[in-house]
């Protein structure tokens, strides 16, 4: 049996941990740069505040109802996410926890007897809340798809379920499938749901489960569709995955706090994003063969897509590197040169980003005997920079190309203190 443990309105729960007066009040959290709403408490949902809606549009509703608003505080959320995952690892064992996203983890419960599962699920929920202060929902079922479905239903009626749902009998599975619309199944997209309903009158998950595998193969995307049907039938096809998946590309993109005109400001921003991306690259022991840079002017559409570069109107360009590298200095140079190519004077820019791709394992990591001495020294320098920045926070060591003033930095007007990661921002008790 597998479980998915999912934090309830995660970012809002993090904000509430140090602000008990918000326990029963509506809360929302905004995206980077305070653009959109990315997390809502149950109370805010009830008021009709929309997910992913622009903040300025929801503002009248928010102000009228006294909704507490926060800029995203990723330092706090990241730390609490680690605490939730670590609690699960300590309870169930490291090997049985697969972190799926910042606020979700799959947990393999096959080490426990089936009759204990309701109690185990409840204990997971209670222990995580006791230790970390974060409320979670737990869905338990024979497969990942079914556990997701159970989790969703447990959240729908929190009073009744206590945020726990265990699908341990066929009857319970059938009931849960019947209650779930096809569009709400994990892995079924919006378009597919429409098609299923319009063409074959398949409305709920139970109906979908009863189609033949041949049908799934022809109409539901081949093997993927067949796997989905099997998962719905309770036959596991998606196994637990190793946690640290090596990424094939690494991107760092941000909105500027306010539109930027000067090429040097953009270069500083790009240099900073490159450092950040290179840091991520080194963390997974990779080296990149290609670097892409993009900028978005003020008039252009919000969405950025490296693939549909012409449609979205984003300006992007890239360079192939002579050798794959993870060294910040070797990446900053081409990145800044790419800015020269893209920049047009007289325009206002609102967003920029860097993408590293063509990622291969980094051969310089072990102190390669066949590399020149300077390469090994640079490797040591990078390790040192990463270590210092990780322990001291906030890029104490950085390349001069990243600038020192950062006029273009993100807007985060409503961010709460970073209670768990900064000595200067600890909660002050009376």
């Amino acid at each position: 049996m597998k479980a998915i443990v999912d934090c309830n309105n995660f970012y809002c729960s993090c904000e509430r941990l140090f602000k008990p007066h918000l326990e029963t009040k509506p809360v929302v959290v905004l995206s980077n740069n305070d653009g959109c709403i990315i997390s809502r408490s149950d109370e805010a949902k009830k008021l009709g505040v929309e997910m992913a809606g622009p903040y300025f549009m929801a503002k009248p509703l928010i102000e009228k109802n006294n909704v507490a608003v926060f800029s995203s505080n990723y330092n706090l959320y990241g730390d609490l996410s680690w605490r939730v995952m670590e609690t699960l690892r300590m309870m169930i064992g490291k090997k049985n926890v697969e972190v799926y996203s910042v606020d979700e983890a799959f947990v393999d419960l096959s080490i426990f007897p089936k009759e204990d599962l309701p109690a185990i699920a409840k204990e997971i929920r209670e222990t995580v809340e006791q230790w970390t202060g974060i409320k979670v929902s737990v869905g338990v079922a024979p497969t990942k798809v079914l556990s997701k479905l159970a989790n969703r239903l447990s959240k729908k009626d929190k009073e009744k379920t206590g945020c726990v749902m265990v699908l341990d009998t066929d009857d319970k599975i059938i009931e849960a499938l019947h209650k779930t619309e096809v569009g709400d199944i994990w892995g079924v997209g919006h378009q597919y749901a429409k098609k299923l309903k319009a063409l074959w009158c398949i409305y709920d998950a139970l109906q979908l489960r009863n189609v033949s595998e041949e049908f799934a193969h022809t109409h539901l995307g081949g093997v993927v569709g067949v796997r989905l049907i099997r998962e719905l039938k309770g036959i596991p096809t998606k196994e637990m995955e190793d946690e640290l998946v090596t990424k094939k590309m690494i991107a760092t993109t941000r909105m500027f706090g306010s539109p930027v005109e000067d090429i040097n400001d953009i270069k500083e921003a790009i240099a900073t994003y490159t450092s950040r991306a290179a840091e991520k690259l080194r963390r997974q022991h990779g080296a990149a063969k290609m670097i892409s840079v993009f900028v978005v002017t003020k008039e252009q559409n919000h969405t950025i897509d490296f693939k549909d570069r012409y449609e979205s109107g984003t300006l992007t360009t890239s360079a192939i590197l002579p050798v794959a590298t993870s060294f910040t200095n070797e990446l900053i140079k081409p990145a800044v040169e790419l800015v020269d190519k893209l920049y047009k004077k007289g325009k206002l820019y609102k967003k920029a980003g860097v993408m590293l791709s063509g990622i291969v394992p980094d051969e310089s990591i072990q102190g390669n005997l066949f590399l020149s001495e300077t390469k090994n020294c640079e490797r040591k320098l990078m390790d040192m920079i990463d270590n210092v920045n990780f322990s001291q926070r906030d890029d104490v060591l950085k390349f001069a190309a990243s600038g020192t003033t950062r006029d273009w930095k993100m807007r985060q007007e409503l961010r709460s203190p970073r209670y768990t990661t900064r000595w200067t921002e600890l909660y002050e008790l009376h």
Binding site: P20, R83, M90, W131, T132, D395, L426, E428
Partner: protein
């Protein structure tokens, strides 16, 4: 294996291997001490029982001076420990976080300050109360040189902050 189940063992910064333990690296005759090299003592290991459940707070005010908690002290708070009679706890009471000693008698809960100038706070039927965590330790800086070191360090970090 045993340890992985429900073990609240410390999992902190001290996870290096034997090879990472520094030895004298003496080139001459000093190597005898290398046979006795072991890991140095680590404060985290002694002061933190359960890392994912441990949070740091800073004391502001004199309410707990009698318990040896002074302004600017750092409190180590463990959420996984049950708040029982007599423990110094962080309490969420009517929307506010407070540090007080918990007293329970006949289902009556009282939050007591350790300072004559503060009245005990009785938790009434209608007050919103929950125990946030238990204070396990207080870090009190004695010497001004350490104070100066800390504020200097914090200042430098602030200066470079994004």
């Amino acid at each position: 294996m045993e340890e992985e189940f429900y073990g609240a063992a410390y999992k902190g910064s001290k996870q290096f291997t034997q090879q990472q333990v520094k030895t004298a690296n003496a080139t001459g005759f000093g190597a005898a001490a290398d046979d006795y090299m072991e890991r140095g003592v680590d404060l985290n290991e002694q002061l933190i029982i359960n890392k994912p459940a441990t949070f740091f707070f800073r004391m502001s005010g004199e309410a707990m001076a009698g318990a040896g908690i002074y302004p600017n002290d750092v409190l180590i708070v463990d959420r996984s420990i049950k708040a029982t009679n007599g423990k110094v706890i962080v309490a969420a009471i009517d929307g506010e976080l407070l540090v007080r000693r918990l007293q329970t008698s006949f289902n009556r809960l009282t939050l007591v300050a350790e300072n004559k100038n503060f009245k005990p706070l009785e938790i009434g039927e209608f007050s919103q109360y929950s125990a946030w965590g238990v204070v396990t330790c207080v870090i009190h800086i004695l010497d001004t040189s350490l104070q100066a070191y800390q504020s200097n360090r914090n200042h430098n970090m602030q200066r470079t902050a994004i």
